[in-house]
């Protein structure tokens, strides 16, 4: 009965004798998908965010629209995990289509934070981070469009990495905002994150935006990357002797006092270990949030047009008032009206809000004012980051400006929720890699004797994450620096 939550708990077939309770609501579907070969991940259990397609296993995206959707094919990352020996243990809860930072917009209800009971797990990959924090999986995959891996990793006291755009295949990831998002790993340690990244990274001919880590010789900062021969797991050496860390002062200003303290303690530790810290200010960064939301909503409005209730999604018959709103429903001569009813019934409020705002920002008369300016801001942010990396090895900030809010505390004010993403979105605009690791002295951090296995405990400090941002395809450096806090 008592199954230990270590990799040793799987039997020869990779089955768990007994499933431990999912008391935090991390999973939407618990179904074991066996590995297809032995490899570096043999015996490792991995949970998948429920927007990553799994052949024959339902993939809901946290939405009523896809409550019964069963993909006919596997995402590339699923095949790669299986070929590396991993056992997939289920599909995790998420904000609907990835739109949210608390996992409260899930049609199936929120996920609770295992390390801060009563509080949100973060999002949108909240179920993935909670599954790892609660020890229900050794690792998990999330997706990060504007912070959706790093945010829940920070809130749940685990490590999460958003890879450089193009390092990991998006084939089989249900799209929200293609130009911004990447699939990436969540695990208890930087080394664990590196181990999973080793398995999933690399070019895929079914995603034309993927590139080999070594095949990117046109930008300046690339010569620091060790390239495809290096192992990401092996980069977790904890050695920061001689490393230069740029502290993004603009992102500290908007952060809560508790967060700033934990962040500064962490920088002190890195300095004590031989790193040098200097302040960095980026002029463009205050425009990143607005630019991110305009671009993400614009892409969402077109990506989600496919959910029309014909090829998949709720059927017209499932929608109240469509077939049975009286005999004069003959104005159903317009397909658009039938679509509009299906989409009203299938999408939650946050998804509708983003589709409408995206449609608005792209509509005639507003395109230049919003979308074109957002693209200017994106190029400006990217340029600012490139310039900063000429002087520093990594940039650092608190991952989230706040500690995890209580469930229900913030969900009614969309703009306030969007503002929580201020520290994470610049990375997506600039296509860069970034890791979030627990700050020293906070739950999930081993540093200073804190017990990583602690879950809950009311008088404990709330989880705080430190974010390290690297140059393009320089995942090794952010993993190395992140591992120095463990």
């Amino acid at each position: 009965m008592a199954s230990e939550r270590s990799s040793a708990a799987t039997d020869a077939d990779g089955d768990y004798p007994t499933e431990p309770d999912d008391e935090y609501g991390a999973f939407l579907t618990r179904e074991v998908i066996e590995s297809s070969a032995d490899g570096p991940l043999s015996g490792v259990s991995v949970a998948l965010k429920d927007n990553i397609s799994t052949e024959g296993v339902r993939t809901t995206c946290g939405s009523a629209m896809l409550a019964d959707y069963v993909p006919p094919y596997d995402a590339t990352v699923v095949e790669r995990l299986q070929n590396s020996g991993a056992t997939i243990v289920g599909k995790t809860n998420m904000d609907e289509f990835g739109m949210g930072g608390t996992t409260e917009t899930s049609h199936f209800g929120p996920t609770e934070n295992p390390r801060a009971p009563g509080r949100v797990a973060g999002g949108s990959s909240g179920g993935s981070a909670a599954a790892v924090a609660a020890d229900l999986a050794d690792a998990a995959l999330g997706s990060d469009t504007g912070g959706s891996i790093r945010n829940p990793a920070a809130f749940c006291g685990v490590v999460g990495l958003k890879p450089t755009y193009g390092l990991v295949s998006r084939y089989g990831l249900v799209a929200y905002a293609n130009s911004l998002e990447q699939i990436g790993p969540i695990a208890p340690t930087a080394e664990g994150v590196g181990t999973v990244l080793d398995a999933i990274a690399g070019p895929d001919d079914r995603d034309a935006t993927t590139r080999a880590a070594g095949d990117h010789g046109t930008t300046e900062q690339d010569d620091t990357a060790t390239g495809p021969d290096g192992s990401y797991a092996a980069a977790a050496t904890g050695d920061v002797e001689g490393t230069t860390i740029g502290v993004l002062t603009d992102l500290l200003e908007g952060s809560d006092e508790q967060v700033v303290e934990a962040f500064e303690d962490s920088i002190d530790v890195l300095e004590a270990r031989g790193a040098t810290a200097e302040d960095v200010s980026l002029e463009s960064i205050e425009h990143a949030l607005a630019a991110y939301y305009v671009i993400a909503m614009g892409e969402a409005s077109s990506n989600l047009a496919r959910f029309d209730g014909v090829r998949y999604g709720l059927g017209g018959a499932a929608v109240e008032g469509s077939e049975n709103s009286g005999g004069n429903d003959g104005e159903a001569g317009d397909w658009n009206e039938a679509y509009a009813r299906v989409r009203e019934a299938g999408f939650g409020e946050e998804v509708k809000r983003r589709i409408l705002l995206g449609t608005y920002a792209l509509s005639a008369g507003y395109h230049d004012k919003y979308y074109a300016k957002a693209q200017d801001a994106r190029a400006w942010v990217k340029r600012d980051f490139d310039a900063a990396f000429e002087d520093v090895d990594v940039l650092a900030s608190p991952t989230m400006p706040v500690v995890p809010p209580e469930i229900g505390e913030r969900i009614d004010d969309p703009l306030q929720l969007y503002l929580m993403d201020a520290n994470t979105v610049p990375v997506n605009l600039a296509n860069l890699p970034a890791i979030s690791v627990p700050a020293v002295g906070t739950p999930g951090s081993d540093y200073d004797g804190d017990d990583a296995s602690t879950t809950g405990g009311g008088d404990e400090a709330p989880p705080v994450g430190v974010q390290f941002i690297g140059g393009a395809f320089d995942e090794e450096t952010v993993i190395r620096v992140g591992s120095a806090l463990e």
Binding site: P72, S284, L289, R311, Y312, L314, A338, E344, A377, Y418
Partner: protein, 102 residues
């Protein structure tokens, strides 16, 4: 409600009305309930005001790092008809079935 008016109106000066929300909802093919369009209108004013900060952004050229990714034009396996239809709420004779039009 008239499309022309909505397109030309300045958001900052006039604010966003529930009618504007319904107009955009029509473009996006999403029905919204009356109370939802009222609530959205209020929220959109605050969110669009935040987006106004983009006015200060200077024109900046992106320097995209582009590579040719064309592949050889070879036939590969795709989904079977049965697989493609499997998630459709309604099918008939191997086709997707759309809403009734008359």
């Amino acid at each position: 409600m008239s499309e022309e008016r909505t397109d030309e109106e300045s958001v900052t000066e006039e604010g966003v009305t529930a009618a504007d929300v319904r107009h955009v909802a029509g473009l996006a093919r999403v029905d919204v309930a009356a109370d939802e369009s009222e609530r959205f209108a209020e929220q959109f004013v605050a969110i669009l005001e935040h987006f106004e900060t983009l006015d200060e952004v200077p024109e900046t050229d992106a320097e995209p790092d582009l590579t040719n990714v064309l592949r050889a034009d070879e036939v590969r396996d795709g989904l079977s008809q049965e697989e493609a239809l499997r998630n459709a709420p309604e099918t008939e004779d191997g086709y997707f079935k759309g809403p009734r039009v008359s």
